[in-house]
Symmetry: C2
Subunit: 643 residues, 2 copies
Amino acid sequence: MTKISKQVYKDRLHSLFDVMKTKNLDALIITHDDEYLSYELSDDCQRILYVCGFSGSAANLVIIKNINETKKNHEPLINKQTQEQYTELKACALFTDGRYLVQAKEQIDTDIYSIINRSELNECEFLIHKLPRQARVGIDLTTISYEQYLEFKKALKTAEIHLIGYDGSLVDLIWDDRPKAPCSAVQIYPDEYNGLPSLVKRQNLASSLRKNNIDATIISSPQNICWLLNIRGRDKASLPVINSRLVAYSNEAIEWYVDEERFNDDILDDLEEHYGHIDIFPPDRFDDLLERLNSSKCTVYVDPKATNAKIIGILLEGATKLIQGLDLCELPKAKKNYLEIAGMHKAHLKDGVAMCRFLAWLDDVTQVDNIVDLDSYIKKVEDIDEAKLSERAESFRKVEGDYIEPSFDTISAIGANAAMCHYNFKEINTPKKLGVDPIYLIDSGAHYLEGTTDITRTVLVGPNLDDEIKRMYTLVLKAHISLTTTIFPRGTSGLQLDAIARRPLWDYGFDYQHGTGHGVGHVLSVHEGPQGISTKYSQVPLEEGMVLSIEPGFYKENHYGIRLENLVVVEKCTMQGCKHMLCFVPLTAVPFDKRLIVREMLTTKEREWLNNYHSHVNSLVKSASSTLSDFEVNWLNQATAEI
Amino acid sequence: MTKISKQVYKDRLHSLFDVMKTKNLDALIITHDDEYLSYELSDDCQRILYVCGFSGSAANLVIIKNINETKKNHEPLINKQTQEQYTELKACALFTDGRYLVQAKEQIDTDIYSIINRSELNECEFLIHKLPRQARVGIDLTTISYEQYLEFKKALKTAEIHLIGYDGSLVDLIWDDRPKAPCSAVQIYPDEYNGLPSLVKRQNLASSLRKNNIDATIISSPQNICWLLNIRGRDKASLPVINSRLVAYSNEAIEWYVDEERFNDDILDDLEEHYGHIDIFPPDRFDDLLERLNSSKCTVYVDPKATNAKIIGILLEGATKLIQGLDLCELPKAKKNYLEIAGMHKAHLKDGVAMCRFLAWLDDVTQVDNIVDLDSYIKKVEDIDEAKLSERAESFRKVEGDYIEPSFDTISAIGANAAMCHYNFKEINTPKKLGVDPIYLIDSGAHYLEGTTDITRTVLVGPNLDDEIKRMYTLVLKAHISLTTTIFPRGTSGLQLDAIARRPLWDYGFDYQHGTGHGVGHVLSVHEGPQGISTKYSQVPLEEGMVLSIEPGFYKENHYGIRLENLVVVEKCTMQGCKHMLCFVPLTAVPFDKRLIVREMLTTKEREWLNNYHSHVNSLVKSASSTLSDFEVNWLNQATAEI
């Protein structure tokens, strides 16, 4: 990434001020996501990055023009604690979460912007604190969900501040060299991988529309459209989708608003054979559709979390009867079918082989047991930094068949860097090197044609390992095992299960400040709803076929970070007397580092689970690869030997 | 209870039909609660009991007039499973929950009424299924929360059915001999028990109004008014309150709408001294107040869950700016202060002594170890039925100082009756006798002047104890211990903790269909919000000073029921390294029945907890009562001996 000077960002901000002036705006909220409400952005939608240089995947930027003209007597901030923490708020502020506070500080000009943890102070509280009554705040209606827009609107209204919606981002007006929007080719995702023909998915969708007396539903999420049509694209790194919109009718008709350039000359017939007939329209005709729905007075279903405020705003103004709820593709997509699960297992076998090779290689270069003196050790490993480690892990994946791309930016973090949960060495000037730090955390994954992976391991890579790290590693492992072995009745949500993972840490007064697990897409987004496992927002019952991560952790700021993540699939429990219950079955097949375990802290049952898991990993990885070297086989045998 | 004939209920229903005809109503919803939205009802508010004979504490009755005139082609029911379960729906239906299905079947005329589990099919789904578009459904606005009213209104609107609100119940128009509303005397609840003078509570309330720019709040819950004013009354059995309403202003002024007859001649001065000056108005002036608020254009805070639809409806029509949220007394009331907690401990000591005496007496009369032959055993205990057992338990409480009354109807259940979680022998013609059943469940509690108790024990009382019962008892005990010993960070809700109790049962494929715990009031309602521990709805973070029950169970229909309940108080954890965490400290001091435990199923830690708890109970109960007989002391010693 070429470094852009502070002055350039200042100039861009002042250009924005000029635009705001013409619109008579006192402030502007710039949201992070694109008009499909994806947090994965193509270059043309990196608006916050363009304005201030912040590249994280979750943020809103708030800009106040002419702060001197704003009210003198500020409203007090919501509570005392917040007030003490944010004493000198700038006129502009970046709102993000705990994952990105450090990165934001490195990336943006803190003379201009306050960096604010959104869970402590939110955009509206900040605006109410800063602006007088009757102030005007602009927002782009196309890059915010209707639900979030309503929340902003309501909160600002309490202070008589007006939220003014625009059809498009004001940033685009000052962005001269804005990149073109991506326009990747539509690719058929064959039935042998997707497991359910598009026509069947569409019949099911239409039937659920009819059952609920709904005439049509607008599907705004590119992932859901790709799932429904069994296609994929390459519009975004790590998210193999086609940006587009779709309307499905109760009579099984489909209108797809997608650029025709995306269809290679000879693919249209193949597509028709693949997903049956659908009507294809240019994207700019989508507004006409909204008018048509409005004038036909039909009943339309939309997801207010997944549809932007412009679309729902137009529908609400017309004669359409609007019904809001979870996108009707979300649950069927989350509950993977037999072939998708088989594909996920295959992908995880490949990924297991790659990760085992990587870890064997890493052990070989570090040879931690043979460190004679620190200086010569540091010299020996000085060529290996976080970037190299990340590349090396990917190189082992790349040689596996049907590898597509990483499923997200690898988190490759040595020592204290691992204490930042979403650390990205690419955002930092100099990646850290192996040497003095005892442990290394790698959170990585890939899309293969058959499925998607996501795994975190924390391993021994250097000297200075102390009992504290081993104790904490063991507690995180206990947390992982505790949730993985839980069986639970149908109807149970991730929110209910989350504490079962945390309890081994809670018992000693520890915790981690992130969710325990997220849903995982099948060759789509590695973060997928509607299910999840966390302390909030994950009240969707877990169902058979859902894939989730289980990834408890522990982070000691400026010291080290530990996270242990497997993907699991929800299945019917096969234990005697429990066949009406559900359970988690691990997909990931990679050993946990036994050198970091305090054996006495594990219960007999926990050791049994670990030994069984390792023996399973051993046979799976051996069966999956006939090309393991003797060295790699030896490594695998000792890494999975009984504890 | 005198038995009322089916014909009388039929006549009452037809009188209601006549009233509905004059109002041009096709259907009527009769809600259970009174106009203060309490589920504890005085006799004059037992409207569902009056109309159909059902006496449970949670239900709505739906009555459809002239079903023959309703639509021929019914809408299909929501889902197939429901449709199969409810094939022959009557025109009238009682909607209740799992606790009351058996009781309802015993009490109401099933030729007229369908009995419906509300979680499977709700009132609106039923009405939409039965009624044509444009049908008119009546409802009393005074006996339904605004929130519930909105839900009904919205659901019926989707089928174009009109919900017509009335100011008062139509049942009252046909209820000739309706009892008078209770009018108990206002009693001062002294500061030595309540721990915080009313004036301080009111200053705190006014200050939080000012902080949020609110002019006034309407407090509709009699419990919250009694808490705020530090008074008590006797308007309802088990709920020592005064039915009334109150408005608190940001300038600390208070208007109390309460019958003057409630003030004994000489108490008014004492009251003024006790809670400072407040303006007292007759209850029928409350509507004037609403008009006054409306015309003054002030900002008013109300709780839509705790305020009836009539009140909020009037405010919404006026110029009042209405802000809705949890009643501002709820959290301060739930977080007990030091004196309240001390009082709860004192009450539990008395209750512990009473329960130990009761259990010692019960062991003495059953002498389970000495059963020679079954016939002579049955003869020996034949005088003892569920009613006698309940009376006997209360008799031991009554002799303790400052006993007021039971805190709820005792659940005294032998054998299979205990499988009905809220079994009430009073609703059944013949209470069950001791004899062939191995175990007995008693869930009971009391208000003492110092505090409120609620305890469930399941104990051995007869022959035929088998390994299954012991195994299940042990699993329930493990569930109880598991949650009781959990330490957790601030911000954690009961919803998050619930599964920690269930897991020992889940591990073997079992579960229980009720919440794990509820909040408990301090000489107010034994069921108190906003906190709770359950699979749903309990997302309020647990805070220091909150009192909760922990009561996992297991129920085998037609066989037996097991429940083990202690009350606990949330405190700062005192363990080393965990002082920033919270934990549960048991209030209840009564042994668990060791004869029902499979020792090998407990882990070392669980046995340690049980032995510590029992040793604690032993010393507490001995220290609390100097009048225990030698027999009782011996019983206590063996009941609390190490396992």
